[in-house]
Point group: C2
Chain length 310, copies 2
């Protein structure tokens, strides 16, 4: 995280570190960057093996809660958390509150698909979904695509295991009915390949379990193909290795960045748990851009407009 | 399908076409291959919009049922069906019957992962799973990996959205307990990236909905990266385009082939609905190899051994 903060290269972005002050100072000093960032103390982190909601409620001094209070109080414009999805979600909801109509804020990731960028959500905030929740994701994702991708009436697709009517599990079959009744441009079912290939939908709606598995699968496919190609091209055309690395990075955290938590009253980005410094820096820039673009009020307006009776 | 049959290039494999005889003869004649294959008549197909079980029960002359009877009666050694997963599953179960301990036969796909091939199942036979069913997939997948990959004690992983204990939806959390109690080498949770990257598990167990979405996602990622790289390399190094095409084919139907329906009393391969001729031919070769390797009796023996009390 400290290396990531140091890797942020964008004018006007000021990073505040939140965590154990001694450790942060030591890591900064070791990098010749003593005093570069303000460090706000937070003495406790939510462990991966804890119940996140319980931990966040029980200990007000966890990093995620301290971050969320800085956002709530206007001391910072956005927060970034790396990997601790459940804890970040809990702290954001409890401290910042939710926008109307979003019972469980989904994580939205902008995927640079072949045919153009699209929004995939939920990428892992809530593993168990309901048809009503998938409907909320459709509304929030549609509003987000309008704000970040500048698409007026984004096409919304429901991720299933086949495009024919009748395909999908019971959740998808019921959700299709819900989505068809919403004031979004519902284009029906889309399949796994439509997420990296694009061209069918601007917003792809799914539960957080499937979204997370798919996104990590795409990341792995890019890594696999990158290594296979590097091994083969390395002999004949080593000068092309950067081209391969650049192309495969599109589906990896360094370019994908983090997920935007949609529907909380503040800009909250959750980075990939395996983020390296470049991926952390990408999350910071993503958060800064969202704050600059007034994401939260614009999302609130867009959600209002979508939810208002026609 | 006819082009796929003509593309089969493997000594000793004899293809029998099943379907409307007039159409098959016309297509063969148009390709200068009149009389090349025996054509067994089947006057009806199961439509994508039909309930597959009902259609298969109601009409004994559908292509999938005729195929399954040829397998059952020993007239052919294996069957291949392209895309009609539900109908093929129904015909296979109703006509061939199941092996003990497999309530719902899963589709198993061999993924040529970076660290070595692995078995992913269920890739789409049954969308809704239970912990007990995922346990059956673990047993069947473990037995299949032993037969097709020659691995003595395959590592079995459960696909979830995070490797930490407590991650996963309720189905995964309950299934982890079931898998831990089975006589397989359960290695715990694996993530989406572990399927293309490999190295963590030889068998990856998931429900048919998630497996299908993930597999199609990998296919799409390969297509996306293939096109991005082709566009960039096409200018500077057009001679390397075949290298890119070859590498990306690994995650596409032409190399992946079809899914093997595990736990029915016959060799049944289900190909990707979007299969081209090369993918169809790959499915035929896969089916022929399984028959040559005595897959069904060996799988039955391996399942027996796994299910026998220690």
């Amino acid at each position: 995280v400290v290396d990531g903060a140091l890797a942020v290269d964008r004018p006007g972005v000021e990073v505040v570190l939140v965590g154990p002050v001694d450790l942060a100072q030591r890591l900064l000093a070791a990098r010749g960057a003593a005093g570069r960032f303000e460090v706000v103390p937070a003495s406790s982190a939510v462990g991966m093996d804890e119940d996140p909601v319980r931990a966040v409620r029980a200990r007000p001094d966890t990093t995620v809660s301290v971050c969320a209070r800085l956002v709530r109080d206007g001391a910072v414009d956005a927060m970034v958390s790396i990997g601790a999805t459940g804890a970040t979600l809990a702290a954001a909801v409890l401290t910042l509150g939710r926008l109307p109509g979003v019972a469980r804020p989904p994580l939205a990731v902008v995927v640079p698909a072949l045919a153009g960028p699209l929004v995939l959500l939920d990428s892992g905030a809530t593993v168990a979904a309901t048809p009503a929740l998938l409907g909320q994701y459709a509304l929030a994702g549609s509003a987000y695509a309008t704000v970040v991708l500048g698409i007026d009436a984004p096409r919304v697709g429901l991720l299933t295991n086949g495009e024919e009517p009748g395909k999908g599990d019971p959740l998808r079959r019921d959700a299709a009915g819900v989505l068809a009744g919403l004031p979004v441009r519902f284009v029906g079912s889309v399949e796994g390949r439509d997420v990296p290939c694009g061209g069918v939908a601007d917003v792809v709606v799914t539960d957080g379990f499937t979204g997370n598995v798919l996104l990590k699968g795409l990341e792995g496919a890019a890594r696999m193909l990158g290594e296979v190609l590097a091994a083969r091209l390395g002999r004949d055309a080593p000068h092309l290795l950067p081209v391969v690395a650049d192309a495969t990075a599109h589906l990896q955290p360094e370019v994908l960045g983090g997920g935007m938590l949609l529907g909380v009253r503040g800009v909250v980005v959750v980075g990939h748990g395996a983020s390296g410094p470049q991926a952390v820096a990408r999350c910071v820039v993503e958060a800064a851009q969202a704050a600059e673009q007034s994401l939260v009020p614009r999302l609130a307006d867009a959600l209002d407009a979508l939810q208002a009776p026609a």
